[in-house]
C-alpha cells in the first residue's frame, strides 16, 4: 500500500482520496469507485480525465479500450503505475492479439450494453472486466445473471451526472439491491467454455495465433458443413449493413465461432504451426501405430497449453 505524505509533491497532484484497481477490475468500476470514495457524483472522475484530453469522446467503447482516454493522467491522479490502469482495460491484450498500437473497441465487439453483477457490487463495489466480453451474461464468480435494467425499468448507465456512483440515475436504487437471478446450469457451462477461449487469447494471443484460428475456423466450416445453434444473446443478432466486416474480425465473433464449431484452444495450437497438409481433421487425428510421428507432433503442440497451466 503506497502512502503519500503531505510534504510529497504528489500530494497536490493526486485526488483527495485514492483508490487502486482490484483484481480484474474494469476501468469503469475504478472510475465509479474513485467517485464514491471522494464523495463525488457519478462520472466526475471520468469528466475530469476527459477534460485533460479534448479529443476524447465519452462513450462506452472508450472504456473498453480507452485509446482516447488520458490514462496517464488517471494513473498520476491516483498515484499508481500506468500499467495498473491499463490492466483495467483490454487495451494491452487486444494490442498484442491484433498487432496494433492503439486497438479499437470494435476489435472486441461491435456492440455493447452495460450490465453488472449485483453481488459483486454489494460485496466490493466491483465491476469486473469480464462484463465487457461479448456473449458473457453470467457472473463467473457468483453464477448469477448479469443485470442491465433497473427495477424501475430504466436501462442501467455506468455514468450519469444526476446520479450517485453505483446507483440508478432514474430511481436512485443502489445497484447492489438489484435482483440476483441464479443462472441456468447449461448456460453456465457454455460461458465457462467461452471464458476459456477468451483466457486463451489473453494469454497466448498474437497476430499469428489469430491467423491460425481464422484458418482453423474456415477449414472447419468447409469440412464439417454444420455449426451449433447460435448463442441467444444480443451480440448474436444480425448487424446492420456495412458492419459485417468489423463483426467478423472481432474477437467476440471469433470466440462465438469457436464455440459453435466445438473447437478448443488446443485445436488452435495444433493449427498454429505447419501441418503435413491443411485440414481441420488434424484436430481429431488419432493413430494406433506406436510412435506415430504425427501423434507425437500434435501432442507436443497441445502440451504447450498444459505446461503453461501447470506453471500458473
Amino acid at each position: 500500500m503506497a502512502r503519500i505524505h503531505i510534504a510529497d509533491p504528489a500530494w497536490k497532484t493526486t485526488f483527495p482520496f485514492l483508490v487502486e484497481p482490484r483484481k480484474n477490475e474494469w476501468v469503469t468500476g475504478l472510475l465509479l469507485h474513485c467517485d464514491e470514495v471522494n464523495h463525488w457524483g457519478s462520472g466526475t472522475t471520468l469528466t475530469h480525465i476527459c477534460r485533460l484530453n479534448e479529443k476524447t469522446a465519452k462513450s462506452n467503447s472508450t472504456l473498453i479500450v480507452p485509446s482516447g482516454l488520458a490514462l496517464d493522467a488517471l494513473a498520476d491522479a491516483l498515484a499508481i503505475p500506468h500499467e495498473s490502469i491499463v490492466a483495467t482495460t483490454y487495451q494491452a491484450e487486444l494490442a498484442r492479439i491484433y498487432g496494433v498500437a492503439n486497438p479499437h473497441a470494435l476489435l472486441l465487439s461491435t456492440s455493447f450494453s452495460f450490465r453488472l453483477c449485483p453481488a459483486c457490487v454489494a460485496e466490493d463495489r466491483l465491476l469486473t472486466r469480464t462484463l465487457v466480453l461479448p456473449h458473457i451474461t453470467i457472473c463467473p464468480q457468483h453464477q448469477i445473471v448479469l443485470v442491465n435494467i433497473c427495477l424501475c425499468g430504466t436501462a442501467l448507465r455506468p455514468f450519469h451526472w444526476r446520479a450517485l456512483p453505483f446507483r440508478c440515475f432514474k430511481c436512485g436504487l443502489d445497484w447492489a439491491e438489484l435482483p440476483r437471478k441464479k443462472a441456468d446450469q447449461g448456460r453456465i457451462e457454455i460461458e465457462e467454455q467461452l471464458l476459456s477461449y477468451y483466457q486463451f487469447f489473453w494469454t497466448y494471443g498474437t497476430p499469428e495465433v489469430l491467423a491460425s484460428t481464422l484458418r482453423l475456423v474456415y477449414d472447419s466450416v468447409v469440412e464439417k458443413g454444420e455449426i451449433r445453434a447460435p448463442l441467444s444473446d444480443h451480440a448474436s443478432r444480425p448487424e446492420p449493413l456495412g458492419r459485417s466486416y468489423r463483426r467478423t474480425s472481432s474477437l467476440g465473433y471469433l470466440v462465438h465461432l469457436l464455440w459453435q464449431l466445438d473447437l478448443t484452444p488446443g485445436d488452435i495450437l495444433v493449427y498454429a504451426d505447419p501441418l503435413p497438409w491443411r485440414s481441420a481433421k488434424w484436430t481429431r487425428f488419432q493413430c494406433e501405430a506406436p510412435n506415430c510421428p504425427y501423434v507425437t507432433l500434435l501432442k507436443a503442440r497441445r502440451n504447450v497449453l498444459e505446461e503453461k497451466h501447470k506453471e500458473e
Binding site: 500500500m1 503506497a2 483527495p16 482520496f17 471522494n38 464523495h39 469528466t47 477534460r51
Partner: protein, 315 residues
C-alpha cells in the same frame, strides 16, 4: 586553492542554507498553534512581518502526520492555507481549502461547498490555520463560520480549532476591530474565540535568543567559513537590527528575516573574498546597507563580465 598551472581554481558559489531553525519565536508560535489544536480553541495570532510565521506553519504541517494511502484513507488533521489575495467571495476561500486536498475536479460551487464539509470531516480535520489572515474579507469570515458550524453539527459533530495568523504593525491587531462590531455574525464569531487568549501577539527575538540563532548559523556555515565565530558579534547585530529603521514600532526584538538577511549577506561577501571568518567591517557594511542605504537606488548599466548562464552559439 591553486592548480598545477598556478591558475586559481574557481571558488564554488556560496550556498545559502534554508533549513528550518527551531528558534525561540518558532517555539512560542508553534507552541500556541499546538495548544489551540489540542484544545480546539479559536485565536487571532499576530506577529511582525518576516518573523517566520509561514515557515512555522509549513513545519507544523509537515509534522502533522497528514497522509493519503491508496486504500482510500486520507488523514489531514491540520489544514493550513494562505488567505486568498485580491478579496473575492466565499468561493475564493473555498477553492483555497479544496486545493489543499489535491486535485478536486470542477463542480458547481453549491456542490463543492457541501463536499468540502464532508471531506474535512472524513479526513479528520482538527485544526484550521489561515496564514495572512489580514487579507480575509467579510465574505470569507462568514464562510469560515458556516464551514466550522457545519462541521460541528450532526452528522459530523466535529469541533475544530481555528487560528487566524496575521501580520501586524504597531499596536493594531487585524480583525480585532471587525470582531468587535455589534452585528450578530461578528458577535457569534467573537463568542467562539478563546476566553483567555483570543488575540495573541508573538514577539520576535531578544538578544539572548539572537545569540542562540547565531550559534546555529555558525554550525550551518562552518563548512564554507571554517573559522566562523559569529557569537562575538551578537551585541552589535542585535543593536543594528533593533534600529528604528528595521524596528519602527520600537519592540526591541529582532525578526528572523532581518537576522538571516544580515548574516547570509555578510557571510557571502566574506566567502567571496576568500576569508575564513566574517569580520567587523563586512558586518558593518552589510548592516549599513540594510539600515542607512536600504532605499538607495542602484544603477545597473553595462554588460556583465562573466555571465552566470552558459551561452551557446547557433548556426
Amino acid at each position: 586553492m591553486m592548480t598545477d598551472g598556478n591558475v586559481p581554481a574557481p571558488c564554488p558559489p556560496f550556498v545559502v542554507h534554508d533549513d528550518f531553525l527551531e528558534t525561540a519565536f518558532e517555539l512560542r508560535f508553534q507552541g500556541l498553534l499546538q495548544q489551540a489544536w489540542r484544545q480546539r480553541t479559536w485565536h487571532v495570532i499576530a506577529a511582525l512581518p518576516g518573523s517566520g510565521k509561514s515557515l512555522g506553519i509549513a513545519d507544523l504541517t509537515h509534522q502533522s502526520n497528514s497522509r493519503k494511502d491508496t486504500k482510500g484513507a486520507t488523514r489531514l488533521p491540520l489544514l493550513a492555507i494562505r488567505a486568498p489575495k485580491n478579496g473575492g467571495k466565499d468561493q475564493a476561500l473555498g477553492t483555497a481549502f479544496c486545493t489543499i486536498f489535491g486535485i478536486v475536479p470542477a463542480m458547481p460551487w453549491y456542490v463543492r461547498r457541501a463536499w468540502l464539509v464532508q471531506a474535512m470531516a472524513e479526513t479528520g480535520v482538527e485544526c484550521i490555520i489561515i496564514d495572512d489572515a489580514q487579507d480575509l474579507n467579510l465574505a470569507h469570515l462568514a464562510f469560515l463560520k458556516e464551514l466550522t458550524d457545519n462541521m460541528a453539527a450532526p452528522p459530523y459533530e466535529r469541533i475544530v480549532s481555528l487560528c487566524l495568523v496575521t501580520a501586524h504593525s504597531g499596536k493594531v491587531i487585524p480583525l480585532k476591530e471587525i470582531f468587535s462590531r455589534p452585528d450578530i455574525l461578528w458577535r457569534q464569531f467573537r463568542r467562539r474565540l478563546d476566553t483567555e487568549r483570543p488575540f495573541c501577539v508573538v514577539a520576535g527575538h531578544t538578544e539572548e535568543e539572537v545569540r542562540s540563532i547565531l550559534e546555529a548559523f555558525e554550525t550551518l556555515y562552518r563548512d564554507q567559513l571554517p573559522d566562523l565565530h559569529l557569537l562575538r558579534w551578537t551585541r552589535p547585530i542585535f543593536t543594528w537590527l533593533t534600529h528604528t529603521t528595521l524596528d519602527p514600532d520600537g519592540t526591541k526584538r529582532v525578526t528572523m528575516d532581518h537576522l538571516t538577511r544580515l548574516v547570509t549577506a555578510a557571510l557571502r561577501r566574506s566567502y567571496e573574498q576568500g576569508a575564513r571568518d566574517v569580520d567587523a567591517a563586512t558586518l558593518t557594511q552589510t548592516a549599513e546597507l540594510m539600515i542607512l542605504r536600504r532605499d538607495e537606488l542602484v544603477e545597473i548599466a553595462g554588460v556583465p563580465s562573466d555571465p552566470a548562464f552558459p551561452v551557446q552559439e547557433v548556426s
